[in-house]
């Protein structure tokens, strides 16, 4: 069995230690161990049902919202366990941003969408400047500068998704979790988001779940391959630098998946 941890020079942004996830009696993840390198893009790939989105949602405790979900093990963020009894899910999600599969802007103005996070967190500085910075970072500023007060629903799907990224950036998160952010977008909008991820990578730790292997190969620095089989629920088969995982996979299951023989 492969060990899913890799030795890295810098201390990891997030460390997953012996993580098991259950939905009621169903086990979704088994013994996941991972070190997410800082200021890089890490992709989770694998067949559908392998638990890659569930794993992502463990990192900022979004699984708490599902009543039947239960987590064992640790997720370390700055050395503190995200699941310790003293950790507040609110604070974890404040420091770890998330972008979802389908763009989900609030039914508010473009401006208010970006300002939402800082407002509830008690930000007292110059909101206009903050909103502008985030929209610029998300490569959306030039398209929306004249209509910040318009409803976010007037934007196209790709623009909405970039707005959701701007909304997450507004909290200055160290980590941004992206759950198949391009799966509902057309190829041009997808390209814009991928470019954006590359631009953000030097300053942010990005964890990307994708069902699209080309996307993982194009944008990510590191890749974790998860799978599921009769004997074992979702687990990490292989984790390493993207180039290595794709060119010289160490495991048979990874190779099968990458070459299209499975999944």
């Amino acid at each position: 069995m492969a060990t899913a941890t890799t030795t890295l020079s810098a201390p990891p942004a997030l460390s997953v230690r012996g993580l098991n996830l259950y939905y009621g009696n169903f086990q979704a993840l088994t013994d996941v161990n991972l070190d997410i390198p800082p200021r890089r893009i890490t992709a989770f790939i694998g067949p559908s049902g392998c638990g890659k989105s569930s794993l992502l949602r463990c990192l900022n405790r979004m699984n708490d919202l599902i009543r039947s979900a239960r987590v064992e093990g640790e997720v370390l963020f700055h050395g503190d366990n995200v699941y310790s009894s003293t950790a507040a899910p609110t604070e974890i999600r404040f420091r770890i941003g998330m972008v979802f599969q389908k763009p989900n802007p609030f039914p508010k103005s473009i401006y208010e969408n970006v300002a939402f996070g800082p407002r509830i967190a008690g930000f007292r500085g110059d909101m206009d400047a903050l909103v502008e910075r985030c929209l610029r970072q998300a490569a959306l500023w030039d398209e929306v500068r004249g209509r910040l007060k318009h409803s976010a629903y007037q934007l196209s799907g790709g623009q909405q998704q970039r707005l959701c990224i701007a909304r997450a950036l507004a909290l200055d998160p160290e980590v941004i979790l992206m759950d198949e952010p391009c799966s509902s977008l057309d190829p041009i909008a997808t390209l814009a988001i991928e470019n954006l991820m590359r631009e953000l990578a030097p300053n942010y730790t990005i964890v990307l779940v994708t069902h699209n292997m080309q996307q993982a190969a194009r944008v990510s620095d590191y890749t974790a391959f998860l799978t599921v089989n009769e004997r074992r629920s979702g687990y990490v088969v292989e984790f390493g630098e993207t180039g290595e995982v794709f060119s010289t996979p160490r495991e048979r299951a990874t190779e099968d998946y990458i070459t299209g023989r499975f999944g």
Partner: protein, 302 residues
């Protein structure tokens, strides 16, 4: 670099954040208490109402109370005429409402073309459901009592209540019919059944429990209504039970209204006793409707 000149949220220290988070959580906890309290306001009022009525009325309920006519003396007063009046009116209303409401629901769900006329009928039904009940009373007074010359009789009351509760039944009926899976219809049509045969032998039997539930609920609304019936029946001293639809009548809510404003304490007890009877009738109808709905749901899940 431009970014560094701008305030950032990361500038909020962990300490500041924790302090504000404590405040935010406190607000949240306080709010939950208010939300929960609000939820119980309605229930507490309902409980207070029921207890108040029971305390005032229970000692006054006996067989004589149900079987004697109203009287000038509270200790002799009874509900006989009101009970029979309610049975008459509710029975006739059900007789009229069920076929008309069901037919309308069938028409709108199974036959109506998607055109402006249909939209107009639907909009019209929605708005009729929002018309104050006393306005139906005025309609009945002008049309049934005066124009058609029926006078202030059972039939006029029943027809007025029919118009009042019809929208309720139509809405319930449509929901029940819509819940019948399309595959049933297609199966029937594929066997060579006509549209009507499909409705009659496939759709209606499946939708019937839902329609009956709607009918019961509509009837309980009709039985509880006082305003429109007062406009029809007026506030009379009825000391007989109606023998046919063209006699004068009174109903339970009118009798209650008649008694409620009398200042003497004994009348308050009589009123409470009558309310208990009315609530028993209505609650058992509601319970029947819920049971019917449950049984129907369970069967359709099988």
């Amino acid at each position: 670099m431009r970014q560094s000149q701008i305030d950032t949220v990361r500038g909020i220290s962990a300490e500041q954040f924790h302090r504000s988070l404590r405040g935010r959580r406190l607000v949240g906890k306080f709010a939950v208490i208010i939300f929960l309290f609000s939820t119980f306001i309605g229930l507490a009022t309902l409980a207070a109402l029921i207890i108040d009525v029971l305390i005032d009325g229970i000692p006054w309920i006996d067989w004589d109370f149900l079987s004697t006519y109203p009287s000038r003396h509270p200790e002799d007063a009874g509900l006989r005429s009101a009970l029979f009046g309610t049975i008459w009116v509710a029975g006739l209303t059900a007789l009229f409402t069920f076929p008309i409401g069901t037919a309308t629901a069938i028409y709108l769900e199974e036959y109506a073309p998607r055109n402006r006329m249909t939209q107009f009928i639907e909009l019209n039904i929605t708005n009729l459901a929002g018309v104050p009940s006393i306005v139906y009373g005025l309609l009945g007074l002008a049309v049934f009592v005066s124009f058609l010359g029926m006078g202030r009789v059972v039939l006029a009351g029943a027809l007025t209540l029919t118009l009042l509760v019809l929208p309720l039944l139509i809405v319930a009926g449509r929901e029940a019919i819509r819940a019948v899976p399309d595959s049933y219809r297609q199966g029937s049509l594929a066997l060579g059944a006509t549209r009507w045969q499909t409705v009659r032998y496939v759709v209606l039997p499946s939708a019937l429990p839902g329609i009956l539930t709607g009918t019961i609920l509509a009837m309980s609304r009709a039985i509880g209504e006082a305003a429109p019936v007062i406009a029809i029946a007026a506030l009379v001293y009825v000391t007989f039970t109606p023998g046919h639809p063209f006699e004068r009548f009174t109903v339970l809510p009118i009798q209650i209204f008649n008694w409620v404003s009398r200042p003497q304490a004994d009348w308050q007890h009589v009123t409470a006793a009558a309310i208990i009877i009315l609530l028993i009738v209505l609650l058992s109808m509601n319970a029947a409707a819920i049971l019917l709905r449950d049984r129907f749901q369970r069967r359709s899940e099988e």
